[in-house]
Structure formats: structure tokens, C-alpha cells
């Protein structure tokens, strides 16, 4: 056993500045390959974001790194420790906020945090101070002695995040932390994270988060990985990702009933003909909105109008902009995230309940 550990520590992957290294990391359940040989590393001090549509494998990756799932293939280290063979060492440096709400409804808010503190060896005065601080941060001080069953969905989510932040880990896994939070709570939590990073020193703190909030990922993450069907399809800083797809976006609003036909027309006349191809990619981004990626709007715009008039497409609105992270996301995955409005708290709770019922 000792011999094995020595090989790993002296081996190829560990003993450098990376807090996470994944090497062909894979998880499969039978034929379903949730995470498919992904490779990436995270430096200390980074906020690393995972973007991906539902079922892409974000949570599965996080759970493997948190030692909850055993990889089917490949390996990964966290803080230089192998996630399978040195799971106990890994657990000492990580914190985990799951995607599902898991706070215990039959305990009070305070008791929930106290339980977490006991698992991480916090005690006495330090424990009480830390809990008080966290309750204040998520504005649950007033309700701390009420049963969590009587909390609203957003309050539970806030408590959940307070529980994750309570133990001040070196590496914090946040699985869709903003899901179900109002903008004010989100803001105060990210401010706290920034404070925590300052307090612990940049080199001692990293965050691995998955999110559906593009602007949040854009603003907060130092690097973003886009994952689709278990594979990382792009990974870079948000700025570079946007630069990579290059060009600009023309968004046009058309009649929603005829949008499919309009897209086909643009494809036919703007992309398929190699000699006067000016469109890079076409995506539907809403019920009646088409996003057209072009190299240069100045020359492309007249062509768009020309195609529209020749094909009887009525353009109701035009909007031009630089590509956002969302465009990058759509570019790589062909999916929008708009259909699942992440701020819809009730929808989130409902999906939670139906998930529970299905598991019964």
C-alpha cells in the first residue's frame, strides 16, 4: 500500500502547483457515459467554471472529484492526492455544495450548521463565531432557530451555501450555486467569496463551480470549460473563448411560426454557397430570435436584408452585438440555456420534489 502511494506521489501528475488535475477522467453507468475521458487542470487561486447543458456531466465530474463517485477510468488528483486511493486526504481540503438542496428540514438552521461544524472539527468559540458570521452573511440570523422545513426555497439554498462556506476549505466545489437565489443574495455571497479569497491568500483558495449563469461565469471565472455530452469541447479564459469564435452577432426577430423556414433560407443562401458565404453559424436563441454569427457586420448586414427580402422573411427587429459567453456556449453545444430560467425558484423546487417522488 505504501509502495503504491509513493509511485503516485513521485509520478507524472502530482507535486506541482495544480490543485486539481484530471487525466482521462471517466464515469460510466453501463452504456451511459456521463463523463468521457476529460482532461483539465485547475491552478490554486483560480475560479474555474463548468458550463454545460443538462446532463452534460458537470455534477458527475464534481462528485468524482469530491470522492463520492468512483471513476470508471482515468484518474484525478486534488491537492496532489489521488481521489480514489487517498480519498481521506482529499476530503480534508475540500468543501462541497451540492446541486440539490440537502439541508436537513427537521433541524433548525443553526443546528444544520452546527452539525457541519462538528464534522470538520470546529468547536467552542470559533465554531459559534463562524456560524453567526455565516448566518449573517446569508441573512438568516432571524430565522436561525426555526425549523428548516418552514424556510422558503431560496432560504434553504442560502443555508446550503452558508454550510459550504462555513468550513473555509482550500478548494470549494459549488454545483450551480446561484440556482434559486435572488440577485441580492447572489451578490452578497460572491462578495463573501472574494473576501474569503483575500483572507486565505490567493494561492490557498480555489473554486470549482458549475453554473448556468453566463454573465456570472463571464465576470467571476478565470477560466471556463464548456462540457457537452461528457466531453470538454472548449476550455479557456472567457475573453479568449469569445475571441475564438470571433466576429460579431446579428440578432434578428422574425415571426415565430416561420422561424424554422427563415433559418433554412439563411443557411442556404449565406452558408452553403462557398463563393459568397458570409455567415459563420446560425442558431435559434429564442422563440422568434435567430443569432447569426458573421465576421464583419458592416458588410453582412445588407446581405442579411437582401436574403430576407428575396425570401419573403419579415424582419421585425435587428440587434447587433459582440459575442457573449452565451454565444460561445451556443456555438459549441448548439443549445441555449434560456429555456430553463435559472432564477425560477418555484420551478426549481418543483423539479426537486418530482425528482424525490420519482426516486420513491
Amino acid at each position: 500500500m505504501n509502495n503504491e502511494n509513493r509511485i503516485i506521489k513521485g509520478g507524472y501528475l502530482s507535486e506541482n502547483e495544480y490543485i486539481v488535475e484530471a487525466f482521462n477522467l471517466t464515469k460510466a453507468w453501463g452504456d451511459l457515459v456521463a463523463v468521457d475521458h476529460i482532461n483539465f487542470e485547475i491552478k490554486s487561486g483560480e475560479i474555474f467554471g463548468f458550463l454545460g447543458p443538462n446532463g452534460a456531466g458537470k455534477s458527475t465530474t464534481i462528485k468524482m472529484l469530491c470522492t463520492l463517485y468512483l471513476p470508471t477510468d482515468g484518474r484525478a488528483t486534488v491537492g496532489g492526492h489521488d481521489i480514489v486511493q487517498e480519498a481521506e486526504e482529499v476530503r480534508k481540503i475540500i468543501g462541497y455544495v451540492p446541486q440539490d438542496i440537502t439541508v436537513d428540514g427537521r433541524l433548525t438552521g443553526y443546528e444544520n450548521l452546527e452539525f457541519q461544524a462538528s464534522l470538520y472539527g470546529l468547536k467552542g468559540k470559533e465554531k459559534e463565531e463562524r456560524i453567526e458570521e455565516m448566518l449573517k452573511l446569508v441573512e438568516l440570523g432571524q430565522r436561525a432557530d426555526g425549523l428548516v422545513d418552514t424556510y422558503s426555497g431560496g432560504m434553504r439554498r442560502r443555508l446550503e451555501i452558508a454550510r459550504g462556506l462555513l468550513v473555509e476549505p482550500q478548494l470549494l466545489f459549488l454545483d450551480e450555486p446561484s440556482l434559486g437565489l435572488d440577485p441580492v443574495s447572489r451578490k452578497s455571497i460572491w462578495e463573501h467569496v472574494a473576501r474569503l479569497q483575500k483572507k486565505k491568500g490567493k494561492e490557498n483558495f480555489a473554486i470549482f463551480m458549475s453554473t448556468h449563469y453566463m454573465e456570472e461565469a463571464d465576470r467571476l471565472c478565470s477560466r471556463v470549460g464548456i462540457i457537452d455530452r461528457g466531453r470538454i469541447v472548449a476550455l479557456d479564459t472567457p475573453a479568449n473563448l469569445k475571441k475564438q469564435i470571433g466576429g460579431e452577432i446579428i440578432e434578428i426577430d422574425v415571426d415565430s411560426a416561420r422561424i424554422k423556414r427563415a433559418m433554412k433560407r439563411f443557411e442556404k443562401f449565406g452558408m452553403e454557397d462557398q463563393s459568397n458565404r458570409f455567415i459563420e453559424k446560425i442558431n435559434q436563441v429564442g422563440d422568434s430570435t435567430i443569432a447569426i454569427e458573421v465576421k464583419d457586420t458592416d458588410t453582412a448586414l445588407p446581405k442579411v436584408f437582401k436574403i430576407a427580402s428575396e425570401n419573403n422573411i419579415e424582419i421585425q427587429q435587428v440587434h447587433m452585438r459582440a459575442p457573449s459567453l452565451e454565444d460561445v456556449f451556443i456555438h459549441y453545444t448548439g443549445k441555449t440555456l434560456r429555456d430553463e430560467d435559472a432564477s425560477d425558484v418555484m420551478g426549481f423546487i418543483k423539479s426537486q420534489i418530482s425528482k424525490r417522488l420519482r426516486s420513491l
Binding site: Y12, A87, Y96, D104, L119, S359
Partner: protein, 382 residues
């Protein structure tokens, strides 16, 4: 076996154990409905069985049967509450995803298991104490008040000891069930395991009576820890008229204390076995990987590896078997990858660190090349 050795080497994490026990107890005492409803069944048993049996057997049999059944009812309470009260919260935690919260915590698995065991056992002890107290003070339970309060206090200590040990035993069983099932099937398993534990034991029916009508059946009864728990409880609570108070005591010319000691010894045996199982099964279920047993999972057995390499020429097979006995599959993947990237020196260093000689490593590369070649041909053919 590694687990067995590691189990003895417990580093107690008292904070975590305390935290888990506290959570279990808070939730239990907060749920008044559960407490009251679970006390109803044993009370009904006490209220109606006694006159009922008296009616069947005629005068005199009432005390006789009830003396015996009194201990049996307590056993039933310990078994049912031990299994239910330790298992149910775990099933809930699993369903709600709460289990992930303590599974990712830096607490040794055995401390988690201990926390839940102690929490479950304490709840079960509380329940059985309440039943005993109700029974004693309503006169529904037989107690030989001839010994007075002093005798009662003296018998409380061994009684409490028996009950706690019993509660731990059944809490272990509860944890094992909870680890292997989910909410839907829990009741099924619960009944399947509960019933034989209660009825194929000396708790309700005297072992001697069974042995008399079905010779040899006592050995089946002796496989059940309940037999010894019932015997021990009966030693201190009831069993005054006709039936030897302690079956085990018979072996020692009716010396009750020696009988009690024997009962305890056997229960300890059961306890140790079940504790080991709870540790393995529940501890292991906390995540798919059992972090406590490093390295065990990824080393495949020699038989499994033989199957993989069965198509190779004999000398290649030998070297592959040798390498895979020193290097686990994760490292193997890493070595292959390194070799593929042209970093053979790093890969060779890993192999050397694993205890392979230079000659072995050369042979391994050669064998590896041949294997790759073979695989490529196969693919071309297909």
C-alpha cells in the same frame, strides 16, 4: 481482512461522533408522534396478552406465561426499535442527498459508523426503558418485589448492560439493511429480518419447549442473538416460577451470575461480528469507493488478469502478469498514456519505483508493442 485490522486502529473523532449522535437524538425527540405511536404496540401486548393467556391456560398459568413473555416483549421492543430507529434516518438521508454531506467530510468512515450506531442504540435504549418502566409501575410486568427496591436497583445495572449491548447489535443490523436498500424496499427487508429474529428465539417460546417437541431445534435458536438477550433479561426480570430463570445458568448449576456472564460473552461475539459487518457494509456504502481501504479496489485478482492475457504468447503473458501484480490499473493507464506521448523515461521510472527491474521493463515494452500490433491488426480485419 484489511478492514478488520484497520477497524481495531480507530482514531476517535469525538466531535464528529457527538455531532452525529446529537442530530439523531434531536430529530428523534422532536418527533412526538413517532415516540407515542411506537409505545402503543408493546403496551397493547402487555395489556391484553396477560389476561388472554390466562384465559387459555387456566388459573396459575397467567403469571407463568407472563413471566416468560415479559422479557420477550422487551426483546421485541429492542429489536424493532434498534433496527428501525437506526435504519430509517439513514434511508431518509440517502433519499434527500444528505448522505453526501457526511460522506465528503474529512471524518474516518468508522467514526461515522460509530456515530450512527450509538445514536440508534441510544434511541432504542430509551424506548425499551420506557416500556420497562410502564410495565413495572402498572404491574403488568412481573417483578419479584420480594427483593424490594434494593434488589431492583441491583438488577438494573446488568439489565441496562444487556439492553445497551442488544440495542447495538440490532442497530448494526439496521445500518446494514439501510446501506443495501432504499425507502421502497426497506419495509420488506425489515419484516423479513425482524420476524425470525423475534420468533425463532427464546424470546417468546421457551427453547426447552421447542427442543422437547422438535429435537435439535435448539441449535437454530442458538444462532439468534435474541435467544441470549432474552435469557439475560429474564434472569433479572421475572422468571421466578417454574421456568429456570436463566437457560444459560443451567450449565452452571443454576448460578445466575455465571449464566449472565455466558449470555454476555455470546452477545459480545454476535456484537463484534455485526459491528464488523456494519462497518464494512454501511461504511462502504457511503461512497462507491471505499476510501478507507486504499488500493484494494484497483488491483484485480490474478484470475481476472489471467483471463485478460489468455491470448498472449506465454512469455508475454508472464511479464504482463508480473507488471499488473505490482501496478494497479490506474497507474497502468497512466503508464500507457506516457509511453504513447513518448515520455517513456517517466513511465519507466514509475515501473522501477513499483519494484520492477530494468530487464522486466524492457520485456514489458516489447510485449506492449506486440499487443498494440495485434490490436491494430484485429481492427483492420474488422
Amino acid at each position: 481482512m484489511i478492514g478488520g485490522i484497520e477497524m481495531l486502529n480507530i482514531e476517535f473523532d469525538f466531535e464528529a461522533i457527538k455531532g452525529i449522535v446529537k442530530r439523531e437524538l434531536i430529530k428523534y425527540f422532536r418527533n412526538k408522534q413517532q415516540i407515542v405511536s411506537s409505545l402503543i404496540m408493546p403496551t397493547i401486548f402487555m395489556l391484553f396478552l396477560r389476561p388472554g393467556f390466562a384465559g387459555i391456560g387456566g388459573a396459575g398459568s397467567e403469571a407463568y406465561i407472563m413471566d416468560y413473555l415479559g422479557a420477550g416483549i422487551i426483546c421485541m421492543v429492542i429489536i424493532m426499535s434498534g433496527i428501525m430507529l437506526s435504519g430509517m434516518p439513514i434511508l431518509f438521508d440517502k433519499m434527500m442527498g444528505f448522505q453526501d454531506i457526511y460522506a465528503v467530510a474529512p471524518v474516518k468512515r468508522r467514526n461515522l459508523v460509530l456515530g450512527f450506531l450509538i445514536g440508534g442504540a441510544l434511541k432504542s435504549c430509551f424506548m425499551s426503558s420506557v416500556v420497562i418502566i410502564i410495565g413495572l409501575f402498572t404491574g403488568l410486568f412481573p417483578y419479584d418485589w420480594g427483593l424490594g427496591w434494593g434488589g431492583m436497583l441491583l438488577s438494573i445495572i446488568p439489565l441496562a448492560f444487556t439492553i445497551f449491548l442488544g440495542a447495538i447489535i440490532y442497530a448494526c443490523i439496521g445500518l446494514c439493511i439501510a446501506a443495501r436498500t432504499d425507502m421502497t424496499n426497506a419495509f420488506l427487508w425489515n419484516n423479513l429480518i425482524n420476524m425470525p429474529l423475534v420468533f425463532i428465539s427464546g424470546a417468546i417460546i421457551p427453547v426447552d419447549a421447542f427442543e422437547a417437541s422438535l429435537p435439535g431445534s435448539q441449535y437454530i435458536f442458538f444462532l439468534n442473538p435474541t435467544t441470549f438477550m432474552a435469557d439475560s433479561i429474564r434472569t433479572f426480570l421475572g422468571g421466578t416460577e417454574g421456568i429456570p430463570a436463566s437457560t444459560a445458568g443451567v450449565f452452571f448449576n443454576g448460578n445466575l451470575l455465571a449464566g449472565f456472564a455466558l449470555d454476555m460473552l455470546i452477545m459480545f461475539g454476535f456484537g463484534a461480528l455485526l459491528f464488523y459487518l456494519a462497518f464494512r457494509i454501511f461504511g462502504g456504502s457511503l461512497q462507491e469507493s471505499s476510501g478507507g481501504f486504499a488500493g484494494v479496489i484497483h488491483k484485480k485478482s490474478a484470475e481476472a488478469r489471467k483471463k485478460w492475457f489468455k491470448d498472449l504468447p506465454p512469455e508475454d503473458r508472464d511479464i504482463m502478469m508480473k507488471v499488473t501484480s505490482k501496478v494497479n490499473m490506474l497507474q497502468m493507464g497512466q503508464i500507457m498514456q506516457l509511453a504513447g506521448e513518448g515520455k517513456q523515461d517517466v513511465a519507466a521510472k514509475m515501473l522501477k519505483d513499483a519494484g520492477l527491474t530494468d530487464e522486466d521493463i524492457q520485456k514489458f515494452w516489447a510485449a506492449g508493442m506486440r499487443m498494440m500490433e495485434q490490436m491494430r491488426e484485429k481492427r483492420v480485419c474488422e
